[in-house]
Symmetry: C2
Subunit: 190 residues, 2 copies
DNA sequence: CCATTTTCTTAAACTAGCTTAATTTTTAAA
DNA sequence: TTTAAAAATTAAGCTAGTTTAAGAAAATGG
């Protein structure tokens, strides 16, 4: 059960069977159909989500009209609105399944309790968040130094599986360019 | 000693005098003159830095010609190249004092030892990094939804102390616009 | 299968923000 | 207290990427 999550945790800290049992108690599993939502704008985000299998996107509504994707999460990634989660404020985001997905949710309150019982998880989450910060710094550097064309080429070379799995207009949104321009770039390259 | 750091930590977890003493042992203090560097491109980043007092910038060299600022750190902020730190790879960044600054450095190895001795610091750093992630998500949202003009106005309204403390061309670099364009925007507003 | 909806493409007109280059103002060192 | 260096301004010309609008292709579900 929850093998991807357990394996992910064991890469950083070790857990025995009793500890794994405690972890299980804190988890609410969700089997999402394509397009199902985990979080809606206006709700306080009360969970952190781990993608056991599948693909999620996080987006907000720009000028009340267009969906602006800010993050994807594939198998093995954590996702949440950390601002809403930390400060208990209504979220501006939606989190939605792009394909049928299996997601493990831990509610804020259970999360705090779990960390009290298994303090080694503080370390696991510290390390996971440190890696997320590293990824953010890298992405931010690319944004500063690359043109949109370079940014797209870099992304599609680095994550070819995304280009397969995610509709093109969503990739465009995530990369901050229009679907029309992305289409033009694709034509250019082939 | 190190009152800003101690206060910052005590806002999240508690430390007694013995524990504070252990923390002291892990810290290397630096008194930096204006323009002094803590990290240079090509070096592996071996420290996390806490700004007790002053102001730092993190930047890299774009196309081997222009300095591109990716982060500032004022009093009470942690800064590091988390990618270089985590993966032990040479950094692409410079970290430099913008004004005379008092910085507390903890080396990777002492950091690991310290966390073994004071596991409550895992929690402190987990919370600190979670807040940094929240800040990153918010900044990223602004980048997606605002024009450069709006982004500048928002920044200067939100952080007027920066506009005082940091040269205009550095603010421009951080916001991802040219100093010429920033100058034009300023004229427009007054 | 067929019909509807969703996604992708094409191309022309447009603009936010950049480049270049010269000038002025401010800062700082001697 | 002068001189050089660093920072900020101005303005014209330019371009990467957007907008608009329409049509084509692909996916989906009943």
């Amino acid at each position: 059960m929850y093998t991807n999550l357990i394996n992910h945790i064991q890469r950083f800290v070790s857990l025995n069977q009793d500890e794994i049992a405690l972890l299980h108690e804190a988890i609410k599993p969700y089997n999402l159909k394509k397009k199902e939502h985990l979080l809606n704008e206006g709700q306080v985000c009360k969970h952190i989500y781990f993608v056991e299998k599948g693909c999620l996107r996080m987006y907000f509504i720009n000028n009340k009209t267009t969906e602006q994707i800010t993050q994807f999460a594939l198998d093995g990634w954590w996702i949440s609105d950390y601002f809403s989660l930390t400060d208990n404020t209504p979220s501006n985001y939606y989190i939605q399944a792009i394909e049928a997905s299996e997601v493990l949710a831990i509610e804020t309150i259970s999360f705090e309790k779990l960390l009290k019982k298994l303090p080694q998880l503080e370390r696991y989450f510290r390390l996971t968040m440190q890696r997320a910060l590293a990824a953010n710094q890298l992405r931010s550097k690319y944004l500063y130094e690359m043109s949109k064309e370079e940014f797209y080429q870099h992304f599609s070379n680095s994550f070819p599986e995304f280009i397969q799995r995610v509709p093109q207009y969503m990739v465009a949104s995530y990369l901050g360019l229009t679907p029309e321009y992305l289409s033009e770039l694709r034509k250019k390259k082939h």
